[in-house]
Amino acid sequence: MLFKVFLLCLAVPGRVVEIEGEVAQVEIGGIRKEASLALVAKMGIKVGDYVLIHTGYAITKVDEKEAEAILATWRMVMEAEDGGAPQF
C-alpha cells in the first residue's frame, strides 16, 4: 500500500478517532497512528474528521463535501450521456 512506502511529498488521509490536547489518534486504512495537530490548530478538527497526514503531522482537513461535489458533477455528465447511473 502507498502509505507503507515513505515518499517525501506524500500525505495520506486518515480519520481522527481520538484527540488529546495537540495529539490525535488517526486511523489510516485500519491502522492507528499518532499525529500532531499543531499545524491545523485553527481548523477546528473534531473526532470523525478526515485529515491529511505528512511525516506525523496533520497538514489540512479533508472536506468530504468538496469531494462529493466533483463526483456529483461527473455522475450527472455520465447519466446524461449514458442514460443510466454508473455503479459505484
Binding site: F6, C9, L39, T60, K61, E68, L71, R75
Partner: protein, 364 residues
C-alpha cells in the same frame, strides 16, 4: 446517500468515470496538442501506477519535472552529512535519503563504516531520540518542499533540545517552476503539486499563470483527480485561457494553511539554492534565520554552502528532472541502473521518476 471518506476515494478510482474523462480529453485535444508538466513525486507515482499515460490521446503528453526533493539534494550536502555521522553527530533523516550517492560517499556508506545514521519518520522522532540521549549531538537532515518545511519550522520555533540542530535543505516549488518557464522549457501548463498546495494555497500560482500565460491546475492524486487536471489544462489551452484552477478543493484552499506558512516565515528566510542536476535557482531555498543560529547545524558544525553539483557520470537525471527525457531515454535505465544497483538519485528515491518508471515498466 452518505459515504465515508474511503468510499469517496474508491469513486475517484472508478474506471468508468476515468475513461469518460479520457474521452473528454481526446475531444478537447483534437488539433490542440498539449505538453503538461507536473512537479510532484506522488503525481508521478499516481500517473504511472494507474497507467494514465496509456489512456491519453496522441498529442497529450505528461512529463515529470523536479518533483523529487531527494533527487535534487546536492551531492556535496550528502557527503557533508555522511562525514558528520562518522564521529561528530548522529544524523537523523528520511529513509529515502540514505542510499542516495553524494559525490564521494553516501549516508549508507557512512553507516557501513560505523557512522551513526538513523532513519526517522518525521521531525518528532528526531526530537524524541535527542531527548533520550542528551549527551550526544543530533543533526536532523531536513529535506523536502513546502509540505515538509513547516514541521521543521514549527519545532525550531518552539525550541529544540540543546543537543539537536537542523540542517535545512528545504526547497520551494514555485521558484523552480518559474526558473523552468524562464529557461523556456516546452510546456503548455502545469499540474501543481497537491500536497505542497495544501500549505501554500492555490493562489500562490496566480503570478506564474499571469506572467507566463500558462494554465496552473492544482490536482489531487486519485486517477480521476489527475485526469480532471489534465482535462482542465487542455480545455484552457483550447480556449486561450491561462488561469489558476483548483481541482483539489477537498484539501486545498486559495490561501493554504496559513499557520504553517507563518511558522515557515518566522523561522526561515529565502535564499538562492543549488538544485542537483539543474543548477542554482534564485529564491528557491529556505535557510534558518540568524535568530535561530543555535538550532542551525550549518552554523554549529561550520558547514559551507553547497557547491554547484552534477549527477553521477553517465546519469541523465538532470534531463529527467527537467522533463527533457523520460527515464527510458537514459542509456543506463534498466541496464546498469536499476533499483538494486542505482546510479542516480532518480533511481534511488522511491519518488524518483526512474525508480517509479522501472517498478511499473510492465504497464507500458
Amino acid at each position: 446517500m452518505s459515504r465515508g471518506g474511503q468510499g469517496i476515494l474508491a469513486s475517484f478510482r472508478d474506471r468508468a468515470l476515468v475513461g469518460k474523462v479520457a474521452k473528454e480529453i481526446a475531444a478537447a485535444a483534437k488539433g490542440n496538442p498539449c505538453r503538461i508538466m507536473h512537479v510532484c513525486g506522488t503525481h508521478e507515482w499516481a500517473i504511472t501506477h494507474a497507467g494514465l499515460r496509456g489512456m491519453l490521446p496522441e498529442g497529450v503528453e505528461v512529463v515529470a519535472g523536479p518533483g523529487c526533493p531527494v533527487c535534487v539534494t546536492p551531492g556535496g550536502e550528502i557527503d557533508a552529512l555522511a562525514e558528520l555521522a562518522c564521529g561528530r553527530a548522529a544524523v537523523t533523516t528520511f529513509g529515502d535519503v540514505v542510499r542516495v550517492p553524494g559525490r564521494r560517499t553516501s549516508l549508507a556508506r557512512a553507516m557501513a563504516d560505523g557512522g551513526d545514521v538513523r532513519v526517522v519518520y518525521g521531525m518528532s522522532d528526531a526530537i524524541r531520540m535527542a531527548g533520550r540521549e542528551p549527551g550526544k549531538e543530533f543533526v536532523h537532515f531536513s529535506i523536502g518542499f513546502e509540505t515538509t518545511a513547516p514541521m521543521a519550522a514549527l519545532e525550531v520555533g518552539r525550541g529544540l533540545p540543546a543537543n539537536l540542530s537542523v540542517f535545512s535543505t528545504h526547497k520551494l516549488i514555485p521558484p523552480a517552476m518559474e526558473f523552468l518557464l524562464r529557461a523556456g522549457i516546452e510546456v503548455d501548463g502545469f499540474i501543481c503539486p497537491g500536497h505542497v498546495s495544501t500549505i501554500i494555497g492555490a493562489d500562490a500560482y496566480r503570478g506564474l499563470a499571469e506572467r507566463y500565460r500558462k494554465p496552473m491546475v492544482v490536482a489531487g492524486f486519485e486517477p480521476l483527480d489527475v485526469m480532471l487536471g489534465i482535462l482542465e489544462i487542455v480545455r484552457q489551452k483550447r480556449a486561450g485561457e491561462a488561469a489558476v484552477s483548483n481541482m483539489y478543493g477537498r484539501a486545498v484552499s486559495g490561501r493554504g494553511n496559513e499557520a504553517a506558512v507563518e511558522a515557515m516565515e518566522k523561522v526561515f528566510e529565502i535564499a538562492d539554492t543549488e538544485w542537483r542536476g539543474i543548477g542554482r535557482i534564485p529564491g528557491s531555498g529556505l535557510r534558518l534565520r540568524g535568530e535561530y543560529a543555535a538550532s542551525d547545524a550549518a552554523v554549529r558544525f561550520g558547514m559551507g554552502e553547497a557547491a554547484a553539483d552534477s549527477m553521477p557520470a553517465g546519469c541523465g537525471c538532470g534531463d529527467v528532472l527537467l522533463g527533457r527525457i523520460r527515464p527510458e531515454g537514459c542509456a543506463l535505465f534498466g541496464k546498469a541502473c536499476r533499483p538494486e544497483s542505482p546510479i542516480g538519485p532518480c533511481m534511488v528515491s522511491l519518488e524518483g521518476t526512474c525508480s517509479i518508471a522501472y517498478k511499473y515498466r510492465e504497464k507500458f
